[in-house]
């Protein structure tokens, strides 16, 4: 009877998680956690068009009475905006010990997990092997006028990417690059998923998207070549996912979920199903995939990028005509 009561109480336990990582990849991991812990997971996922900022702004809008216990973010930059607003409940997970220091906050405000890289998706039927683009700067090359695409930098991971480029090149160089992009007829898609569609269908020759978009296109048999840009220059942008504990009402369950999301099985699953790049040494890369150490990556100060991202917004809105 006591065990029955306990089971009943256990069933009533729940945790609320907001995610900006694709539902198709994360839902199975959340189900695994439910099975293992007996804690019910109630999730809010982002749509492709509002990726990362939709749930982020919902967390901000709900600040008066926080609903979310955990934010599983597609990048570590947006959580900085929550840290700045005092909406994060710092938690140093025991699982964080296995994550390299560059991919976690020392104060436990966020901890990184399997990462994505920003890649050039190239349609092989439209681009000859000897003409393969090698740098994000090729998006603005006149040779490819009207044949390239990026997602709207006001939303999604492209926001972080342009901010990282601004930190690497300086604001003026970034603005000049984006102006050239526009003049070059680069298509501004509503999402990375749409960039993938445009490249896969041959609508454009190549475009900028994420590792998971590339994996999905390859899985669908699209004639895609994947290029890690700027390997002979500043490096490719790597975006670890970030697990953040928030001020929602289920503190204990939130910590259990954070621990699980940073664990080997969860990271391994994300690597396997979404072609993410493992950060933990004890997680194997996906078949044909790479480890972070095998890629020349951009050197990023995530907190600084967050500041740059906010600073660039008014200019980006002007640039996008909004």
């Amino acid at each position: 009877m006591a065990s029955g009561a306990l089971a009943c109480r256990s069933r009533s336990r729940e945790v609320v998680v907001y995610l900006s990582i694709d539902q198709v990849f994360t839902e199975p991991i959340l189900r695994d956690f439910e099975r293992q812990s007996g804690v019910k997971v109630r999730a809010v996922f982002d749509t492709e068009e509002t990726k990362s900022t939709g749930v982020l702004n919902r967390i901000i809008a709900e600040a008066r009475s926080p609903q979310a216990d955990v934010f599983w973010s597609g990048d570590p930059v947006r959580p900085q905006l929550l840290v700045k607003r005092g909406l994060v409940r710092a938690y140093l997970s025991p699982e964080a010990a296995a994550i390299p220091p560059a991919f976690k906050a020392a104060d436990g405000t966020w901890t990184g997990g399997a990462a994505r890289a920003r890649l050039l998706l190239v349609n092989k039927t439209r681009v000859k092997p000897e003409e393969m683009p090698r740098s994000v700067r090729d998006l603005a090359d006149r040779r490819w006028k009207g044949q390239t695409a990026i997602a709207n930098p006001l939303f999604g991971t492209t926001t972080m990417h342009v901010a990282a480029l601004a930190d690497a090149w300086g604001d003026d160089a970034l603005k000049s690059f984006l102006t050239q992009l526009k003049a070059n007829g680069c298509r501004i898609a509503s999402s990375n998923g749409e960039v993938k569609r445009l490249v896969a269908s041959g609508e454009v020759a190549f475009g900028l998207a994420d590792t998971d978009d590339a994996a999905e296109a390859l899985h669908d048999g699209a004639p895609i070549e994947v290029v890690y840009p700027d390997q002979d220059g500043m490096g490719t942008l790597l975006m670890p996912t970030a697990v953040v504990s928030l001020a929602g009402p289920h503190t204990e369950e939130a910590r259990r979920l954070v621990d699980y999301l940073l664990s080997v099985p969860a990271e391994q699953k994300l690597v396997d199903v979404a072609a993410h790049i493992p950060l933990r040494a004890d997680v194997k890369p996906a078949a044909g995939g790479k480890r972070a150490s095998e890629i020349k990556t951009m050197q990023i100060d995530y907190a600084k990028v967050a500041g740059t991202m906010e600073r660039l917004q008014p200019w980006l809105r002007d640039w996008a005509g909004l």
Partner: protein, 528 residues
């Protein structure tokens, strides 16, 4: 005790204004207070300065005017197709009219963004009818107008066709004695169906003006995109978004004035479905042309849906449905039915007051239209600010918040439909009952609702359909773990199996069609 008795007597005498007040309070709580909360954000930090800067920027107004042009073009195109088509499908001797109307109406059942995606599968480079010109046209201003017009034309067609069913047969019979079918259609039927046409124009314009998904996908900058960038971007600025929504007040008032003027002082046609005995209009030698036109209009909008069905079937999406659909279909139905019932309750009271020109009725009518044209993101963030409090978790943490949001956003659809229906009935019945001592609630229950049952059922059905297809309102507010089907389609659309997304879209269409079929059966059951 005497004071209590006096209050009860006063309440009985003033039932109508009290009921209107109660309905007004509910509507204000879901539509006005949220906007006021957002307005309060203007007082924080530099929000007012930024808002003033945004509103004084020429590009803001250029985009506003451009969006007005966009919505106008969509509305004109919808009317140009929907009006003659509604006439043909509602009254002419065209074969398989009901089937054609059903097929033609299918696009209304899904969020327009899905249709744009469907058209991409048809005209994109890798599409079923791929061509460079087709792809270029699709991703352009005219392409976006065409996609949205094809998605929304069924609103006009359906309202006109149903409106025609309700015209007093004797008027048409008299006209046919002295004129041919063409002159009867142009001179009698179309003018009589003006209230339904005006309502359809209002609905289409509002939906086209506030649409974000299709223009974003087809890369056409629109004003709601500017508002959304203040709420969906990194620098979350609800106060600025509210300021940018202010010009929409003018749009709402303009729309209402237009509708009143276009509908005319007196109304003849209604959304109720009175029985009719007039034979179909004979088109003579125009019949083959009309058949081709109706066939094209019925089949063309189905093309993107057919592309989705093919996609789902080819990729075994239907067999994987059980794995991905969860409780989302049930969530959709539950939210929509709750919301539509609330809309109906508000529509009976406010719609009646608006139709009879009662004090307050017109103002509440305008408020509902304002909420309809306000971008869903603005309304959603305002609702969060209003309802997300520890003491209101019984509402905010449950499906009730989605139902309230739907009622705010689509209240105008039910309310205007009910108002049009009420405006058809003679006021004399109510006056006679009032002279006989019947109080308002009694008149409502015994006279108004029974007489206008079909019009009110049509209002409820319309509200259900709009709530079922909604994405942009629900996505901001749905309680964790209880997403409706449209949201699930869009969250899975990101790298999810394309065939499953297509199959889920088919479920969305089938579910809405089933609800409409049941609703239609109820409508026609009374007729028998």
């Amino acid at each position: 005790m005497a004071a209590g008795l006096g209050w009860a007597l006063a309440l009985r005498r003033r039932e109508e204004p009290f009921l209107l007040l109660a309905a007004g309070v509910v509507l204000a709580a879901v539509a006005l207070v949220p906007l006021m909360f957002l307005g309060g954000e203007l007082g924080k930090g530099d929000a007012l300065r930024h808002a003033a800067h945004a509103l004084s920027a020429p590009r803001t107004w250029a985009l506003f005017v451009s969006s007005l042009g966009f919505a106008t073009a969509v509305t004109v195109l919808c009317l140009a197709i929907g009006l003659p088509l509604g006439l043909l499908l509602g009254r002419a001797d065209v074969p398989l009219r009901r089937v054609a109307l059903w097929l033609h109406a299918f696009p209304v059942f899904v969020p327009p963004f899905l249709l744009a995606l469907g058209w991409f599968h048809v005209f994109g480079r890798g599409g079923l009818a791929a061509s460079t010109l087709g792809a270029r046209l699709l991703f352009s201003w005219p392409g976006a107008v065409a996609v949205l017009a094809l998605a929304l034309t069924p609103v006009v067609t359906s309202l006109v066709a149903v409106g025609l069913q309700a015209i007093d047969p004797s008027l048409e019979e008299a006209a046919l004695l002295v004129a041919g079918p063409r002159r009867t259609a142009a001179g009698i039927l179309l003018p009589l169906v003006r209230p339904a046409t005006a309502l359809a124009a209002l609905v289409v314009f509002s939906l086209a003006f506030s649409e974000l998904g299709v223009p974003m996908f087809l890369r056409v900058p629109v004003y709601p995109g500017m508002v959304f960038s203040r709420l969906g971007g990194v620098d979350y600025a609800p106060g600025e978004a509210f300021a940018l929504a202010l010009p929409l007040f003018a749009v709402a008032v303009g729309l209402l004035l237009f509708e009143r003027r276009a509908a005319g002082r007196r109304s003849f046609a209604v959304l109720g479905l009175r029985s009719r005995e007039v034979p179909d209009l004979r088109l003579g030698h125009w019949r083959p042309v009309a058949i081709v036109f109706t066939a094209a209009a019925a089949l063309l909008p189905v093309a993107p849906l057919a592309a989705l069905v093919i996609d789902a079937a080819r990729g075994h999406g239907f067999s994987e449905l059980a794995q991905w659909i969860g409780a989302s279909a049930w969530n959709s139905l539950f939210d929509a039915l709750m919301a539509a019932t609330l809309v109906l309750a508000l529509s009976v009271v406010i719609g009646h007051a608006a139709a009879r020109g009662r004090r307050g009725g017109v103002g509440l009518d305008a408020l509902a239209v304002l909420a309809f044209v306000t971008p869903a993101s603005v309304l959603g963030v305002g609702l969060i600010a209003t309802w997300n409090r520890p003491s209101l978790q019984g509402v905010y943490g449950t499906s009730a918040i989605v139902a309230l949001a739907f009622a705010a956003r689509y209240g105008a659809v039910g309310l205007r439909t009910a108002a049009v229906s009420f405006s058809q009935g003679s006021e004399h019945y109510e006056e006679a009952a009032a002279i006989g001592g019947a109080r308002f609630l009694r008149r409502l229950g015994r006279i108004l609702v029974p007489i206008h049952a079909r019009g009110l059922l049509a209002a409820w059905l319309l509200a259900v359909v709009f709530c079922l297809r909604d994405l942009e309102t629900a996505v901001l507010l749905y309680p964790a773990g209880q997403e409706p089907l449209t949201v699930r389609i869009f969250t899975l659309e990101a790298n999810g199996p394309g065939s499953v997304v297509a199959a889920l879209s088919c479920v969305q269409v089938a579910m809405t069609a089933a609800v409409l079929a049941v609703g239609s059966a109820l409508l026609f059951r009374r007729k028998a």
